[in-house]
Amino acid sequence: MTAAAQAMAKREPADVAGAKAREDELTLAPPVDIFEDAHGIAVQAELPGVSKDRLNVQADRNSLLIEGDVAIDMPSGMEAVYADVQATRYRRSFVLSGELETERIEASLKDGLLTVRIPKRAEFRPRKIEVRVA
């Protein structure tokens, strides 16, 4: 049995069904920029059409989930003539590492651009080491 198959077998059946349903739902993976500086890591994700109340950012000790639903003004009875965007839900998740302080995560949304900042624990921030001339 492969590792993946073993992991599947260990899970509760309901869990597997839930995961399958989520996979089947058509979602868009928003483009992201991810960068790190001395203070922490920042994720910038593009979620055009998502307002603050339709955005869901979740973090636990080892993962970050970004989810949002698109809501735009549409006249009734509209027919699609051309569509680059073929889903109304964005979803993307990342695995975090232990030095990040997920309790102090900050998120802001402006014009469809989401910025999530995750600070590093103080002991992991780089310290400048002075080199003395002997």
Partner: protein, 148 residues
């Protein structure tokens, strides 16, 4: 109702629609349907959806974090062009792991149906979506004909 703008592609009013077929041709090595002359490669920034009703045509550009002042819209007969600049701020003190966001100038040209009224275009930018509405001419709207 909501889903329709994002799913079906059941009319071919717009020549850009044909680029889907042209992609299929690339994949399958055939070229049965010629691509629209203004069609662009899939994934070009910004993604566009176009919807139509008997009264008007709605164009949506999905472009987050745009400065509306950088946008330039023009319409000539039924040819709508949108250009602008999307500046992605780069933090010089940081290490980048992913840079997927589009940075720079963009321009898209959309062929609208022939019956649109170019004098009454409206555009607004909200939550990162530029929504352009172009009404159709009165004469073009379907009219009820009474049979005596």
């Amino acid at each position: 109702m909501f889903g329709t703008l994002f799913s079906s592609l059941d009319t071919n009013l717009f020549d850009e629609f044909r680029r889907l077929e042209s992609e299929m041709d690339q994949v399958f090595g055939r070229s049965s349907v010629p691509a629209g002359i203004r069609a662009v490669r899939r994934g070009t920034f910004p993604p566009i959806n176009v919807g139509s009703t008997p009264d008007r045509v709605d164009v949506y550009l999905f472009a987050a974090g745009l400065d509306p002042k950088s946008l330039e819209l023009s319409i000539q007969q039924n040819l709508l062009s949108v250009s602008g600049q999307r500046k992605v701020e780069v933090n010089p003190a940081a290490d980048y792991y992913r840079r997927e966001r589009y940075d720079g100038e963009f321009r898209r040209v959309i062929t609208l149906p022939d019956d649109v009224d170019p004098d009454r275009v409206d555009a607004k930018y909200r939550d990162g979506v530029l929504h352009i509405t172009v009404p159709r001419r009165e004469a073009a709207k379907p009219r009820q004909i009474t049979v005596n």
